[in-house]
């Protein structure tokens, strides 16, 4: 341990230190009383910080125009995930144009390290990192997010629309 010790004469006295400390406190008190806008502390949870829109928070599964999941269950996010927190079960879709889709998509958010690799790996813009970060829960089971939560939770107001559309791609001849 490297501890800096002030061994000067003045530091042996008690009161000078006390008054210096109180002086700093009083300075901030007066500053905050007369200039409340610049006060650093917030009344959390009533007041919250605004983060950048690029903030990597809780995941969102995007949806197509008809409201179904954009995800094709290619498992690239699960493969790329360093925390191995994504679990997908794929199945055959009755529509041959869709072919493959996830019947289960679970993210264990307590394992997640919010690195954003899933978002980067996704070839069809099906998973994004959303702005949410305050997600308390009472039991561990509440931190395993399923499709219902990831795509259709109330805060998403019906789901986030993807910008990759198969029909448009097919029309373009891709």
């Amino acid at each position: 341990m490297s501890v800096m010790q002030n061994k000067s004469e003045i530091s042996k006295w008690y009161l000078p230190g006390i008054f210096t400390g109180l002086g700093i406190t009083m300075k901030h008190l007066v500053k905050n009383l007369f200039n409340r806008k610049d006060m650093i502390t917030l009344n959390y949870p009533e007041e919250k910080y605004d983060y950048s829109p690029r903030f990597k928070g809780n995941h969102v599964l995007t949806v197509k125009k008809d409201g179904s999941l954009r995800c094709t269950a290619c498992m690239l996010c699960a493969t790329n995930c360093p925390a191995e927190c994504i679990k997908i079960i794929a199945s055959e879709h009755e529509d041959p144009a869709v072919e493959k889709f996830p019947i289960a998509y679970e993210i264990d958010i307590l394992r997640c390290v919010f690195c954003g690799f899933c978002e980067e790996a996704c070839p069809v813009d099906a998973i994004r990192m959303g702005p949410e970060w305050q997600t308390p829960g009472l039991a561990q089971s509440q931190f395993i997010y399923d499709i219902n939560h990831l795509a259709y939770r109330p805060t998403l107001k019906g789901g986030v629309l993807t910008h990759v559309d198969d029909e448009e791609r097919h029309k373009a001849g891709i």
């Binding site: 269950a73 055959e92 072919e99 493959k100 070839p123 373009a172």
Partner: protein
């Protein structure tokens, strides 16, 4: 024996060898799709281009026979360029739906693009749309957009399975694979077309979308579906086994295997397995560790006289297991009541001319050999007679590992009900056993992917296989059962070459380096 030079290496080949075969023999890389060593030459993919010295143009390696003194290379810029743009032509109408394609990860297009392609596509036209998810038959799904028309599957159905279901229809860029009207792809070898398909055009219904291939490990083993003993690869991960594919063996199965054998993983997976030892106590079944159960059985068995003990064996276990188990019963328990359970007597000798045999056990020959060695000549009719006369009191049954090929189980269980006590050894879970009050113990056994051993196939060929994975933790092999029943301790076989001390890597950090590591010594002061 003509001599030729391949990429500067001089090799001697058999007369009549094509260039591509020589490339494979010399372990040289060459791009190709349509050529398959088990099929005839089609020469349609135009990727295996090689330059033969003295010839003005490039030639395809698959259809050119080597002549004396040929100088061949496939590394010149001209060849590389031709392969690259040949690949571009293949990918013109390819949908590039790798994310949802089951072949991704083991796809010929992906591999060869990374190895020989890496171009920027120069195709500005729209892609031709074809049929997706075409149901070809009970086992295979076709995606005509992904198909590169290599015609391997068509040649397979004409040359190997000789069923002629598939063909190429239409012309030009609209041509596609399909089945002839009203005739589905339905033969006993249909899934081989999925294996040989170099792209994801043909996919197996059974495996479709169940796993991405890069999540699977593979291990070589032997198919236990019938007495042919095809060499196969099982693909598994921690969730279980997912598929089986053939491995080339000239003496046994060539490049192929049947569809029935591919179901092998189903009776190995946990869902169909007896997972714990079961013991009947006062009429109720209780679970217990299999090893402990067998150990306590050894005392019970010693109470019976040799004539009262019977052993029933199926042809599903390895030679080593038979040897120890039969040896134990013959020497320790002094009984000759060892019987061979034949599951399908009528069709035992059947053979379909390709691979499938009527004897649905991988090791009938091995069992007969071991029985012979120990001089056991008991007949099945003796068992029936002795059970009827109540001469056999305790019957130990090493039941089937593959539950699907024993149609006579119910009938045999009725027969076993005549014994006072039945000890069932087996890996397959039979609900009917729980209802039989005379079945005192059910001991889970390991399946062929969980142990190593030897199978002797119909031809008398001994094939040794390795352990691949563990599915049921506490399961025993028959060898272990035999040792425990005889009251001997289990020994862990020490294999010299993989002994830990020998294979351990040298310590990378030497002692003096450690001494010099100041961080360790000055940690308190920092």
């Amino acid at each position: 024996m003509p001599k030729c030079t391949i990429n500067g290496k001089e090799i001697e080949v058999k007369a009549g060898t094509t260039i591509i075969e020589a490339f494979y023999g010399g372990n040289e890389r060459i791009a190709h799709y349509c050529w398959h060593p088990g099929l005839s030459v089609a020469g349609v993919c135009r990727l295996c281009m090689v330059q033969v010295e003295g010839n003005p143009k490039l030639q395809i390696a698959c259809n050119t026979v080597i002549t004396e003194g040929m100088k061949i290379n496939n590394v010149s810029e001209e060849v590389k360029d031709s392969v690259k743009w040949g690949l571009d032509f293949h990918l013109i109408n390819h949908p590039l739906d790798c994310p949802i394609c089951d072949q991704a990860g083991e796809c010929g297009l992906q591999d060869q693009y990374m190895e020989f392609g890496k171009y920027n596509p120069e195709m500005a036209e729209k892609k031709v749309k074809k049929h997706k998810v075409v149901d070809l038959g009970p086992t295979v799904v076709l995606d005509t957009e992904r198909c590169i028309l290599c015609s391997r599957c068509v040649r397979f159905t004409t040359e190997v399975s000789k069923t002629d279901e598939l063909g190429i229809f239409n012309r030009g860029d609209r041509s596609e694979i399909g089945t002839h009207a009203g005739k589905p792809l339905d033969n006993k070898y249909s899934l081989n077309t999925v294996d040989i398909c170099p792209v994801g055009a043909l996919t197996s219904k059974d495996f479709r979308f169940r796993q991405r291939v890069w999540y699977l490990k593979d291990s070589d083993t032997i198919c236990t579906g019938c007495s042919t003993g095809c060499n196969v690869k099982v693909y598994y991960n921690k969730e279980g086994l997912f598929r089986v594919k053939p491995v080339y063996n000239e003496k046994v199965n060539g490049h192929w295997m049947c569809d029935e054998g591919r179901d092998m993983y189903k009776w190995v997976n946990r869902e169909s397995r007896l997972a714990t030892g079961l013991k009947r106590e006062n009429g109720a079944l209780t679970m217990a560790a299999p090893g402990a159960l067998v150990k306590e059985l050894s005392a019970t068995l010693k109470k019976y006289s040799p004539e009262e003990i019977g052993l029933v064996l199926t042809g599903q276990y390895t030679v080593e297991e038979y040897d120890t188990l039969i040896g134990t019963f013959a020497s320790e328990f002094k009984t000759k009541n060892i019987f061979h359970w034949v599951n399908n007597k009528e069709s035992f000798e059947a053979f379909d001319g390709i691979l499938l045999r009527g004897d649905k056990n991988p090791n009938t020959k091995g069992l007969l050999k071991v029985l012979d060695k120990h001089g056991v000549q008991a007949l099945w009719s003796d068992l029936e007679k002795k059970l009827a006369e109540k001469k056999i009191k305790v019957l130990i049954v090493a039941g089937p590992e593959n539950g699907f090929v024993f149609p006579d189980v119910d009938q045999k269980l009725k027969l076993f009900a005549g014994a006072q006590q039945v000890i069932w050894l087996g890996s397959y879970r039979y609900e009917a056993l729980d209802a039989m009050t005379n079945v005192s113990h059910q001991i889970p056994l390991k399946t062929c992917v969980e142990k190593e051993g030897t199978f002797i196939n119909h031809d008398g060929l001994e094939q040794r296989f390795k352990r691949a994975t563990t599915v049921v933790g506490g399961a025993l092999t028959l060898t272990e059962v035999a040792l425990l029943m005889a009251g001997k301790p289990l020994t862990i076989p020490v294999v010299k070459e993989t002994f830990v001390e020998m294979s351990r890597r040298q310590d990378q950090v030497q002692l003096e380096h450690r001494k010099k590591n100041e961080f360790n010594f000055k940690r308190g002061a920092l």
